[in-house]
């Protein structure tokens, strides 16, 4: 036996590096230190999962070609707890969230950057699950995660993992979709059931535990947006008053917050029909239990479109034909209102204003 043989007498391969122990290993301060341990984490976890030519180059940046058009950029940070929940996890959420922000400009997302803040002690097997989930979500969305960063903070100073993603996409010249473009008379179209994500998260949290078949609706929406653009693209290029005026996805603060945001940005009012808003029975019941209003509950896979009245029907049909818009509905109309009120005709027959959320929506007893 020579010094190069291992304990069993077999020769140790030259250049052997002990692989990361994903089963039992944990994140430690060296993984963010910029040295070999960090390089190993990047090579054996991130580069393997995200797998593209740009990452493989091993730079601190990515030099990428862009299709023609105007660049759209968006960023999102994800601090969700719990990290894993029915229907998704922080990884898939971080991909979908930024892809969706870019898509709301009518843009096709192309690249993502991902920054990770890891807490010392975080199990590597959970990190791998999250990273693989991100990779899967990115592949399905047809975007590449081309660059990133990793930092490690001391135990107690992070919630396991925080992820920030930045995305870029490209939108055709002449397509101008934005929150300030809603106009009186526009149809307000909602792509499906609201409240699924927020109530799923609530149901997995401790103090409010109750058994339910709820799932987060987290999804990448750019395919749906493309399907909605297709029938009106030519009309929009010829006349900016046609087609899709504004698009937004109702995340924190729910549908109500989105409507108020757009009303403010566009300087308009809105009138919506409570009976037209799709809410799953379990979400309605869960909201009843906690004294929450589904209009203010978070979503991660829905969008609202403000569409020129003559194009409303064809856009709605395009939404319904797409799997992520199967339950799409027209929920109301934009009005001229100097006070920018979002009014709702209740199922009951009366009217109420759907106002901005005050602080965070907390479950009530009273």
């Amino acid at each position: 036996m020579t010094a190069m043989d291992d304990a069993r007498g077999k020769p140790v391969k030259a250049g052997y590096v002990r692989p990361l122990d994903f089963k039992h290993g944990r994140v430690d301060m060296t993984h963010g230190g910029g040295g070999r341990a960090m390089k190993q984490l990047i090579e054996q976890l991130f580069a393997v999962a995200f797998d593209n030519e740009f990452l493989a180059q091993g730079n601190d940046m990515a030099r990428v070609p862009l299709p023609p058009g105007r660049v759209v950029m968006a960023t999102d940070s994800h601090v969700i707890t719990p990290l894993f929940f029915p229907g998704g996890d922080i990884g898939s959420l971080s991909v979908h969230g930024t892809v969706n922000d870019v898509a709301m400009a009518g843009a096709a997302p192309v690249y993502l950057a991902a920054g990770f803040i890891l807490e010392e002690g975080f199990p590597l097997d959970r990190l791998r699950r999250i990273v693989e989930s991100m990779a899967r979500a990115a592949r399905e969305a047809n975007v590449a995660i081309v660059t990133g960063d990793t930092k490690v903070v001391e135990q107690g100073k992070g919630d396991g993992v925080f992820i920030t993603t930045t995305g870029i996409g490209v939108v055709e010249d002449g397509i101008d979709i934005g929150g300030a473009r809603a106009r009186p008379g526009d149809a307000i179209l909602l792509s499906g059931f609201v409240g699924d994500h927020g109530m799923t998260i609530m149901s997995t949290r401790e103090s409010l535990a109750f058994g339910a078949d709820l799932q987060s609706d987290t999804a990448a929406l750019h395919g749906l947006v493309a399907a909605m653009l297709a029938p009106v693209r030519d009309a929009m290029l010829a006349d900016p008053a046609r087609g899709l005026h504004a698009l937004r996805d109702p995340t924190r603060g729910g549908l109500a917050t989105l409507l108020n945001e757009i009303a403010g940005q566009s300087g308009v009012g809105m009138l919506i029909e409570e009976a037209a808003i799709p809410v799953r029975p379990q979400v309605e019941a869960a909201c009843e239990f906690l004294g929450l209003d589904p209009l203010y509950v978070a979503n991660e896979g829905k969008l609202v479109a403000f569409v020129a009245p003559q194009d409303a029907e064809v856009v709605l049909a395009a939404m319904r034909a797409h799997p992520l818009g199967a339950n799409a509905a027209r929920i109301g109309t934009v009005t001229a209102d100097p006070h920018h009120f979002v009014q709702m005709a209740t199922r009951f027959g009366g009217r109420r204003v759907v106002d901005w959320l005050t602080g965070e929506q907390l479950p009530r007893i009273c």
């Binding site: 009012g269 100097p338 009951f348 109420r352 479950p363 009530r364 009273c366």
Partner: protein, 379 residues
């Protein structure tokens, strides 16, 4: 959802609305006070006021236990968490109530205080079981609906000898609140209460029964109709009140027969008497000191009284001078009559009790009613 959806039916609503419109005397006004935060919420959320004829005016009374909780009591809880190493268990409703020095329980949490939001009294006790090394204090609020669960957990804590658990008791009583409205200064100066009747609380009544209201109907000659929680219940109760007023009757009627009996829940009442006793007086925000209106933990269960365990003293804190909550709670002023409504005092920065909870008269008006008074063009 059974027994919920049917009670929100729009067609039935229109039918009852037509009946109310047909039966109100065109030449008179009907002022009805609804007492229960849940009713305020239902009226606002479903736009019930839109379905009523202009002769009817609904007044939001002091039926919100968060709104009537004095600043001094929140200060007490904040002092407790910031000065001692306890975990304060509280219902979500209390977290944003503004207290002294620009603090609230939520802001105290941001300063490092251990505050756990719970949904049920049982959760508070469970917290204490799970962390035997630390003290857990349950900040108990509520009218008679929420009091029996607190009584239960105190009794349970005693039975299981859970030494690290105690309760700050802020439970208050509905009949006392109604009395204080009927005996308010406006009554003494005008000689009359500007109220024609009461929509009695729904779930408080399942516990206390309909009997306690008979006193008001007789003493003050005001009709009371106990109404269920859903908007149709409220409308039916308004119809019944209109009829009583028209016919010159002052009786206690029960619209919520599916859940309320004359005696109420005797088991719950007995439990409450076992654990609690009446405080001689208790301050209600906006109403001042009200005699025999609140509960304290009995001597037999003193071991679980946080006020005794931590030698807590309530310091009185006056409300902002411009705040009109007192008058609003008594039904003599409207939120728009308050100088600081909607400007200094908003749901984001509530100055007075009526703005603090979404059921408060001012919060409800701000969120739901404000737009009616501004000429907004129809769609």
């Amino acid at each position: 959802m059974k027994y919920i959806d049917e009670f929100r039916d729009g067609d039935l609503a229109r039918g009852i609305a037509a009946r109310i419109a047909a039966e109100v005397r065109p030449d008179r006004r009907y002022h009805f006070m609804e007492f229960c935060g849940g009713h305020t919420h239902a009226i606002s959320r479903y736009g019930v006021a839109d379905l009523l004829p202009p002769q009817i005016r609904l007044i939001h009374g002091p039926g919100c236990p968060v709104c009537v909780l004095p600043i001094g009591r929140i200060d007490l809880a904040i002092r407790l968490v910031l000065e001692h190493q306890v975990t304060l268990a509280t219902y979500g409703d209390c977290l944003r109530v503004p207290a002294s020095d620009g603090l609230s329980l939520l802001k105290a949490k941001a300063r490092g205080a251990r505050i756990a939001m719970i949904y049920s009294a049982a959760d508070a006790l469970e917290l204490a079981r799970r962390q035997p090394a630390g003290q857990v204090v349950f900040f108990a609020i509520g009218f008679e609906t929420t009091t029996p669960p607190t009584a239960l957990v105190i009794r349970q804590a005693a039975a299981e000898r859970i030494a690290n658990f105690s309760v700050i008791c802020n439970h208050v009583l509905t009949p006392s609140a109604i009395t204080s409205i009927l005996e308010s200064p406006e009554v003494r100066s005008f000689g009359t209460v500007p109220l024609d009747g009461f929509i009695g609380p729904a779930h408080v009544s399942t516990v206390i029964g309909s009997a306690p209201y008979e006193h008001f109907a007789q003493e003050y000659a005001k009709p009371v109709v106990i109404a269920g929680f859903e908007p149709l219940d409220v409308m039916q109760a308004i119809l019944m009140l209109v009829r009583q007023v028209n016919e010159g009757r002052a009786e206690v009627e029960n619209e919520f027969t599916r859940a309320v009996t004359r005696d109420g829940n005797l088991k719950a009442q007995a439990l409450v008497s076992e654990v609690f006793e009446l405080r001689r007086s208790f301050e209600w925000r906006g109403l001042g000191e009200v005699p025999y209106s609140a509960l304290a933990i009995r001597a037999e269960y003193a071991a679980f009284d946080a006020e005794r365990r931590f030698a807590l003293e309530t310091k009185k804190v006056a409300d902002n001078k411009a705040c009109e909550c007192g008058a609003i709670l008594r039904g003599v002023k409207h939120p728009r009559d308050c100088r600081i409504f909607g400007t200094v005092c908003t749901p984001e920065n509530p100055v007075g009790s009526c703005m603090v909870s979404s059921e408060g008269a001012c919060a409800a008006h701000y969120t739901y009613g404000r737009f009616r008074e501004i000429a907004a063009p129809a769609a």
